[in-house]
């Protein structure tokens, strides 16, 4: 319970960091970065075997940010964990900074360069096969956007993962139902996602993607079915945490102006106060 309380507050703090990064850089992907905060916190604080002081530990669990544009919350979480100094976040997207607008392995903790959609799952399959070859115990987590599932390469990799019975591979879909041009179901119908992934040989679990406790319990309970890769459909709200950003496609990569930043921070600070009051 203590951990959940701590992480709930951290989720708000990470959101503040995300907005500050985007505001300072005048560049970024606001909506998708805010929607996956709890997913990242659950994995990095509650589930994965990692050591920020030793990011290349051979038996570490692997995380791949396949939706590479949600980089701000990813960097904020890695910095918060101590993979690199939090103060470096100020250089995000600045000239020559190693903190580019999509993740690269120059950033301690990042496993693979991403940004082009539909790549991460195949790389994750390779990592999961490597673990099987070595009889190593590490798991591989791949976070995908829902819009990303339009890419055919995702389904290639999904098929191969099931063929190799990769029960050490966990795909997560940040199901916020919006992509850059609008509603995922209007741009290119994705549903029924559960039936599709099940038909591809995956074990599918739905979860509230903002419920940290449930996320941690779900991840810790894997694999549910031996010999199958697992897909977690995390139902989220794009832009989660700031009322005027939530569920608004325009905030896919909109940058807050002075007033919007002030209002967003006020709202997030209010939320922090509420959480403190409950303690």
């Amino acid at each position: 319970m203590e951990q959940t309380k701590m992480l709930k507050k951290k989720a708000v703090q990470i959101r503040k960091m995300v907005l500050e990064m985007i505001y300072r850089a005048k560049s970024g992907h606001t909506g998708g970065s805010l929607s996956c905060v709890e997913i990242l916190l659950s994995l990095f604080y509650g589930v994965m075997q990692i050591d920020p002081k030793n990011p290349k530990l051979p038996d570490r669990d692997r995380f791949i940010m396949s939706k590479g544009h949600s980089v701000e919350s990813y960097y904020a979480v890695l910095a918060d964990l101590g993979f690199f100094p939090v103060s470096d976040l100020e250089s995000y997207c600045q000239f020559g900074s190693y903190l580019t607008g999509h993740p690269t392995t120059k950033v301690p903790g990042v496993e693979v360069n991403t940004g082009a959609l539909g790549h991460g799952l195949a790389v994750g399959v390779g990592m999961a096969i490597a673990a099987k070859i070595e009889s190593a115990g590490y798991k591989v987590y791949v976070l995908m956007g829902d819009g990303e599932l339009d890419e055919g390469s995702v389904w290639e990799a999904a098929q191969i993962a099931a063929h190799y019975r990769l029960d050490n591979l966990i795909g997560i879909v940040d199901r916020n139902r919006l992509q850059i041009s609008g509603d995922t179901e209007q741009i290119l119908k994705l549903e029924n996602l559960e039936q599709k992934w099940t038909a591809f040989g995956w074990h599918v679990i739905h979860v509230d993607g903002h419920d940290i406790e449930r996320l941690i319990d779900t991840f810790k309970g894997l694999p549910v079915e031996r010999g199958k890769p697992h897909l977690i459909i995390a139902h989220t709200i794009k832009g989660k945490g700031v009322s005027f950003i939530e569920n608004n496609k325009d905030w896919h990569h909109k940058v807050p102006n002075d007033e919007e930043l002030r209002m967003a921070m006020m709202e997030l600070d209010e939320r922090l106060k509420e959480l403190d009051a409950h303690e």
């Binding site: 360069n113 991403t114 195949a122 994750g124 390779g126 096969i129 490597a130 290639e156 990799a157 191969i160």
Partner: protein
């Protein structure tokens, strides 16, 4: 250097991989329903746990190879050059080269090896494509012995590479396997013209030199298997000696060996350069040797082009 004994490079690549895999447990091969084309069926039988079949899915083959490499494996992806240099290009660029994953792409049946099958199955843009990606070596061995040596050499280079080989049995240029990265090999010395070739046309260029010699033209012939990084020194040195350079390649005139050599010369020691390659068109279909003959990539064609080049220069044009 007997014309009679021929061998397809893929068999020697496969042999090199078998030998490496016996010594090194981190060697893994990945293929996309191409174990026959790549001649690695025996590898699959011998090392099943280190032979990854992904089905007809080249994009995933490369992504998976990157994932394996990032977990410490030395990964060789083998499959048709035409698909790996086009369909899987973004995976090679991002997952392999940009990330810096230690993956070697062996493009088999490159160039017009699959001549009769049409341009979907030709790889005549692969040098250009992979040369333009940072962090990638680009290598075209000229015979089966060199192909063997290439695999044995690059396994110790912890960086991505693209190696293009053909499909068909070809004559041996070398008696012994030998290869170093960024090194050109002088096969013949002459002072009238420098010919620089790579891949499966090297043998034809060698035969062209014999024709030219009978006609009174003595050519220096350099085999340039390593197109990136390229052996700048040997190019400049030879150009200083002969004053004119002809390049020969089984590739589009755009972006291949010819332009790589031209760039070295343009930047260092400008001399006239004649590029013998496939023109900017989807080529005529036919067996590899028929296509070579049509575009002047066989010995007679090369000798004829060299003579025409020399005549043009002597007339001051």
């Amino acid at each position: 250097m007997s014309e009679k004994s021929k061998m397809a490079s893929r068999h020697m690549v496969a042999q090199a991989l078998m030998e490496l895999a016996r010594e090194d447990e981190t060697i893994v091969v990945v293929t996309s329903d191409a174990r026959g084309s790549a001649a690695i069926t025996k590898f699959f039988d011998t090392f099943p746990e280190r032979a990854i079949e992904v089905g007809i899915a080249e994009q995933s083959a490369v992504g998976i190879a990157a994932g394996l490499a990032l977990c410490g494996k030395k990964v060789f992806v083998l499959g048709p050059a035409c698909f790996y240099s086009a369909r899987a290009f973004e995976q090679v660029k991002n997952d392999v080269a940009y990330t810096g994953a230690n993956v070697k792409i062996i493009g088999v049946s490159g160039g017009v090896s699959y001549g009769p099958l049409g341009s979907t199955h030709h790889a005549l843009h692969d040098i250009a494509a992979f040369r333009a990606i940072p962090n990638m070596d680009v290598i075209l061995p000229s015979d089966a012995n060199q192909a063997y040596a290439v695999v044995k050499h690059i396994v110790n280079r912890e960086r991505p590479a693209y190696i293009r080989i053909g499909r068909n049995p070809i004559p041996f240029v070398y008696d012994q396997p030998s290869f170093e990265i960024a090194k050109g090999y002088v096969l013949r010395n002459g002072s009238d013209v420098t010919i620089i070739a790579c891949g499966e046309v090297v043998w034809h260029a060698l035969k062209a030199c014999e024709i030219l010699s009978k006609e009174g033209v003595e050519a220096t012939l350099i085999d340039m298997p390593s197109i990136k990084p390229i052996d700048e020194e040997i190019i400049i040195k030879s150009a200083r000696k002969t004053g004119k350079v002809v390049t020969v390649e089984e590739h589009s005139v755009h972006g291949g060996l010819g332009e790589a050599v031209s760039a070295v010369l343009g930047n260092n020691f400008p001399v006239p350069v004649e590029i013998i390659a496939i023109p900017d068109e989807f080529p005529v279909t036919g067996r590899q040797e028929e296509v070579f003959s049509h575009y002047g990539l066989d010995s007679v064609g090369i000798a004829t082009r060299v003579q025409a080049f020399l005549r043009r220069l002597s007339h001051g044009r």
